[in-house]
């Protein structure tokens, strides 16, 4: 039977607490129970932090009305990918190697704490956040709530599954080559990769220092804006953090398509779609064409280079993070993780520098071509329906490399660019698996991106479907 406190959007949850339908403690108890039941069934949960969560809930419940109103996420009970450190809590990063209490708390979690949110668990990730399918030889595979035989996407698969299953209304993930947006698409939720440097990464276990980005997975676009509001801002402990003004992301979010220039790339992005994905995206294209937006065709020059070059950068920077453990603990890595990290050790420095060099040129050319004619781009998210866990379980079989390139076809160009990109559910296959669309904006134009995404979300009727494994069963 569905718990009436669960299965809500973040905004609905905040309203429950504000109207005192429930206390924060009651909401926390319900969430912990769902994590231990539905969450475990999906293998989405790394560990719950019951005592700490209930202590924080009690603290929040004791606050005065005045203090509560100052906190925009007051009483939101959340859980996050198992690469977010909280002082004193276990951190494993989906590995055998990392363990023990974290020495400090991630900047993004400080932001959520200040906003009044409560943190109650860590959610499973691909080992060291290196992978796009959701498999993990160490902790086991996360299951897709819509069909547990299918991959949830990765690496933030536990975050996507927990949100899609209605256990938590929002969860943080990380996106280096698509690791927020790919699982968001596979699990039918909203995933936002902010502009590189907008949200601080200190206290988040690194994979690739020049490509890692932190961001939210949520059930709605408005919820995504609310979480971004809490985590955006300069982080003095993240050397790539950028001092950018953080606007009110909800201020213009309901302004609709009117006046927006939407660009649809004519090259690369729509080249490799399977039939079900192509059909769902054709529906989105029609919605956009029929809207008040000005739709234009654009070219993202050299996009075909970006996926391969991002893959090389991730391999090299990932190998650098892991080099000491590779010397002494190679046997403790999963086969695919080890294969990918070892490859990074053999890449010539000159090739790595060429890839970084291309990145600068790619930013300049994209801004002066596609984004001269458009404010927001519409592109696919995954080029295909999420495969089954069995189909995508390639281990260190050499075919894994091509699968990563295929699944990252539409995500990695925007990691290389560092531009903000959002994955939005846009339909279902005949077999009931979600399909995602992706919107992209110029750097630091998250307000515009969220506005376009909200306008599209309003037009796309999700119906009343619920996942097979969820709190609604």
């Amino acid at each position: 039977m569905t718990d009436p406190l669960l299965g809500k959007s973040l905004e609905q949850t905040l309203a429950l607490v504000e109207r005192k339908v429930c206390s924060v403690t009651e909401l926390t108890e319900a969430t912990l129970a769902a994590l231990e039941s539905t969450g475990r069934e999906l293998n989405a949960v790394a560990r719950t932090e019951r005592d700490a969560a209930l202590a924080r809930a009690s603290e929040l419940d004791s606050l005065s009305e005045t203090e509560r109103r100052k906190q925009p996420l007051f009483g939101a009970v959340l859980a996050h990918k198992d690469i977010y450190a909280r002082r004193g809590w276990e951190l494993q990063a989906g590995s055998k190697i990392v363990h023990g209490p974290a020495p400090s708390t991630a900047a993004a979690l400080h932001g959520l704490d200040r906003a009044g949110a409560l943190d109650c668990a860590r959610l499973n990730t691909v080992e060291f956040a290196l992978g796009v399918t959701g498999h993990n030889e160490i902790t086991g595979d996360v299951r897709n709530p819509w069909n547990p035989a299918h991959m949830p996407g990765g690496s933030s698969g536990g975050s996507a599954a927990a949100v899609a299953a209605g256990i938590v209304p929002a969860a943080l993930g990380s996106d280096t080559g698509g690791s927020i947006r790919i699982p968001a698409a596979a699990c039918g939720v909203v995933g936002l990769k902010p502009t590189a440097g907008l949200a601080g990464r200190s206290g988040v276990f690194p994979l690739s220092f020049s490509l890692d980005t932190v961001g939210p997975l949520t059930r709605t676009v408005r919820d995504s804006a609310r979480v971004l509001q809490a985590i955006a801002g300069y982080d003095a402990d993240d050397p790539t953090s950028i001092e950018a003004r953080v606007p009110d992301y909800l201020h213009t979010i309901e302004d609709g398509f009117d006046g927006l220039r939407l660009g649809i790339p004519q090259n690369y992005f729509f080249d490799e779609l399977d039939d079900a994905t192509a059909a769902a995206l054709a529906t989105v294209r029609k919605v956009l064409t029929d809207s008040e937006a000005q739709v234009t065709h654009v070219t993202v020059e050299q996009a075909e280079y970006a996926n391969r070059l991002a893959t090389l950068i991730i391999a090299v920077e990932g190998a650098n993070v892991h080099r000491e453990w590779l010397k002494s603990r190679a046997a403790d890595y999963g086969a695919q993780t080890l294969a990918r990290l070892l490859a990074g050790l053999y890449v010539p420095a000159e090739a790595y520098l060429r890839a970084l060099d291309f990145r600068v040129r790619f930013v300049r050319s994209t801004l002066s071509s596609a984004f001269r004619e458009a404010d927001v781009l519409f592109v696919p998210m995954l080029p295909c329906v999420p495969p089954t866990l069995a189909q995508s379980d390639l281990g260190s079989n050499p075919e894994y490399a091509e699968m990563i390139v295929r699944l990252g076809h539409c995500s990695r160009p925007f990691n290389l660019l560092g531009f903000p990109a959002l994955s939005l559910p846009c339909g279902f296959t005949d077999t009931g698996l979600p399909i995602g669309a992706q919107l992209v904006a110029r750097p630091f134009e998250e307000a515009l991106l969220l506005r376009a995404a909200r306008a599209l979300e309003r037009e796309l009727d999700p119906g009343d479907r619920v996942p097979a494994v969820s709190v609604w069963r």
């Binding site: 391969r308 002494s328 080890l338 070892l342 060099d357 630091f444």
Partner: protein, 62 residues
């Protein structure tokens, strides 16, 4: 990667085939990178990426 590295990996039981495959994957990635970026003009400083973003952050909200 130098010989000492490979010796350490082998001593830990990493299969020689896995090391050979990693070497081949890396060579493939480097080859593709050369093919894709071979026509690039003078090299740019990679730090330029962050300078571009900083400039855009200022421009966006000025």
């Amino acid at each position: 990667m130098n010989d000492d590295w490979e010796a350490r990996l082998l001593a830990q039981g990493v299969a020689p085939e896995l090391i050979a495959a990693a070497r081949a994957t890396a060579a493939g990635m480097a080859q593709i990178t050369h093919e894709l970026t071979g026509q690039a003009a003078d090299a740019l400083d990679p730090v330029q990426f962050y300078l571009e973003l900083q400039k855009l952050a200022r421009m966006t909200h000025d």
